[in-house]
Symmetry: C2
Subunit: 384 residues, 2 copies
């Protein structure tokens, strides 16, 4: 299979012409973009046909613009990280699962040939339940005890929880220091590391405390997926599928043809899926950084999904699993309201099943439970 | 005495021509601006000759610009606040000292003739020692339990601690909501409410966690000073004196002539001193919002002052008291280094004594204590 992590490689995957006059919409303003075939405005500044040269997707946010580097073996290219380190002190924020796998590698990438830089690290417990103020304070404690100054850089090494916490810590430490995202899960690579949403949970709701704060760069080494459990991998694919559904019909069609390649961890297929997802997210974020409108389309499946997570308890289902079941519910509602035809419902069910994702809510969830959660769930809080 | 809270009223106070070729500088880059006589670039959009029309100082920060309203009886003018409330929900953050004095008045100003707006309030314990994460969480708790959404407005009613905490809470709640400053101390009116520095203390240092976050407006009702204890009043004057020293020689000379009027709480003198201080701070902040250089001049006296606060313990001396003694030490050092002549030292001592502020550090402070604190005090942390 040809290298996929390039724009030109798109042609190496078969795509079908849209046979359905796709028009997909819910009352949450999720919709297919009928113009999704138009070339994306995201700038390609580099193309790759080997593992050595990363694909670059630029997030265009004026003076807060930054590159996303995507490719295999990128943690073996120290220059990619070092060009974004402006001071002499770095704090790597990671967790107990990821540290044994990649911390040494990241420290090496930050320091090799660069003796002026010193690296501290703080290793947090792993899991959504630790995405709270008490755990965040451990990051501040470490930064302050290490006497980091305003020119330091925080590096988030891990999944979405680490990225969100490290980003918010960077936004708040000394009123803002630089930070870099090194996401190691599909979910973080295609969604949470891109776009500058950072924050922590409150006991009464997710992501209620945080900041919009953009990194200096995002470095996605696709090799880190080699250590990701199957279930985590599939969970991230729920967000990949979302981009196809909300604004990129050709990408959805590509996924329908290539889901088995993704499930078998074909590196080229994954690099392409990540690049295309990042391009879609970057385009949306560039147009609506602080979610005054368009950005809310990224929440397809998340309204029902949050109800599932809230009712069923975090930790039972992964975020992407709840989003997958929530997406089916949103699609089903759209069909019942007459906004889409049945074929879309079938295709969504089919691709989620291929990705081994749930297509129905947990059995314990009753209609009354959905009603109860969604009635008390704040409009403003649903989409965070 | 003519109304002072106007630009034209400047002439009603005698000013002296600079007799000294003032050049005041320390290694912290604090200096007199020799061009301080030039007209300030701050825009006057309104002038007042009665208690009814506020003086307005605009802080020019592009799309984050905002007005500072200054005058007597402004809390009796509901329109001033209401024009800056865009949603229907307001959270007033105040403390146990200020709430009994002004909370009802503020709630009334927010709601009179405006039945669509509902106001919640959270009353925090009073004091610097409560400027911490635990107390900040009480603001988030109240906001979330009240189900405030992204269109809500936080209102800081109190001194510098309340302003810093409420501002940081507003910066972080749902990744940022609107806020308004209603400072009720001289210190907050002339310094902490202007410029967007918000944050909380960490057990290892002051203001280490926070955000640069600008309010929608600052409303300074000078009548609130009527309830301010003498010592708090004098503490704020330390910052007023600072503006004269670092960049506004005519203002310093005005203060030398009018310190007794300020100490006797002459409302016109106070309105003028507040306006001129806000203009000076607004100019500095407009040029260097995030303290990459010029803004550090605002820290005159704060390097020694922080050492005093750290060694002597917060709560013994007010911030302005430590700054006053620190200013004398900075001036003395500048004199010993040959950067200023003795007359400046005498004038600084004299005006601080007139303001009943300390001009020497606490007796328990030894040279070794200063050395110890200042050697371990981080360069980056001194000026926060």
């Amino acid at each position: 299979m040809a290298a996929a992590a390039t724009t030109t490689a798109t042609a190496s995957y078969s795509t079908i012409s849209p046979k359905h006059n796709v028009s997909f919409s819910t009352n949450n303003h999720h919709h297919f973009n009928k113009n999704a075939l138009a070339a994306p405005p995201v700038i390609e500044t580099s193309k790759s046909s080997s593992d050595e040269v990363p694909t670059v997707v630029d997030v265009d946010l004026g003076d807060r613009s930054y590159p996303i580097y995507i490719g295999s073996g990128l943690l073996n290219q120290p220059d990619l990280l070092q060009r974004h380190i402006h001071g002499k002190r770095v704090l790597v924020v990671t967790n107990t699962t990821v540290a044994p796998l990649y911390l040494d590698k990241v420290v090496n990438a930050l320091t090799v040939g660069n003796p002026n830089v010193t690296v501290e690290s703080v290793i947090l417990p792993d899991g959504e339940k630790y995405k709270d103020m008490d755990t965040l304070m451990k990051v501040f404690d470490k930064a302050i005890e290490s006497r980091l100054d305003r020119r330091c850089t925080f590096v988030a090494l891990g999944g979405g929880v680490i990225g969100d916490m490290c980003g918010y810590a960077a936004a708040s430490f000394l009123r803002g220091v630089n930070f870099i995202q090194i996401p190691t899960t599909v979910m973080a690579q295609v969604d949470s590391s891109v776009g500058g949403k950072t924050g922590i949970n409150h006991r009464l709701g997710k992501n209620l405390i945080g900041a919009f704060y953009q990194p200096q760069c995002v470095l996605i080494d696709t090799d880190t997926l080699n250590t990701l459990p199957d279930r985590e991998l599939a969970s991230g694919l729920a967000e990949v599928i979302k981009y196809g559904l909300i604004r990129d019909a050709p990408f959805f069609e590509w996924q329908e043809k290539n889901m088995q390649a993704l499930m078998s961890r074909d590196p080229d297929a994954f690099a392409y899926a990540i690049k295309r997802s990042c391009e879609n997210k970057a385009e949306v974020v560039s147009q609506d950084e602080k979610e005054s409108g368009l950005r809310a389309t990224l929440n397809l499946g998340h309204t029902f999904g949050h109800a599932i997570e809230t009712s069923y308890g975090y930790g039972h289902w992964l975020h992407g699993e709840a989003v997958a079941a929530g997406t089916v519910m949103a699609v089903d509602m759209s069909y019942r309201l007459g906004w889409i035809d049945e074929s879309i419902v079938k295709r969504v069910n089919s691709i989620l099943k291929q990705a081994k994702l749930p297509t129905t809510p947990p059995e314990m969830m009753t209609v009354d439970m959905f009603k109860s959660v969604m009635a008390t769930q704040l409009e403003a809080y649903q989409s965070l």
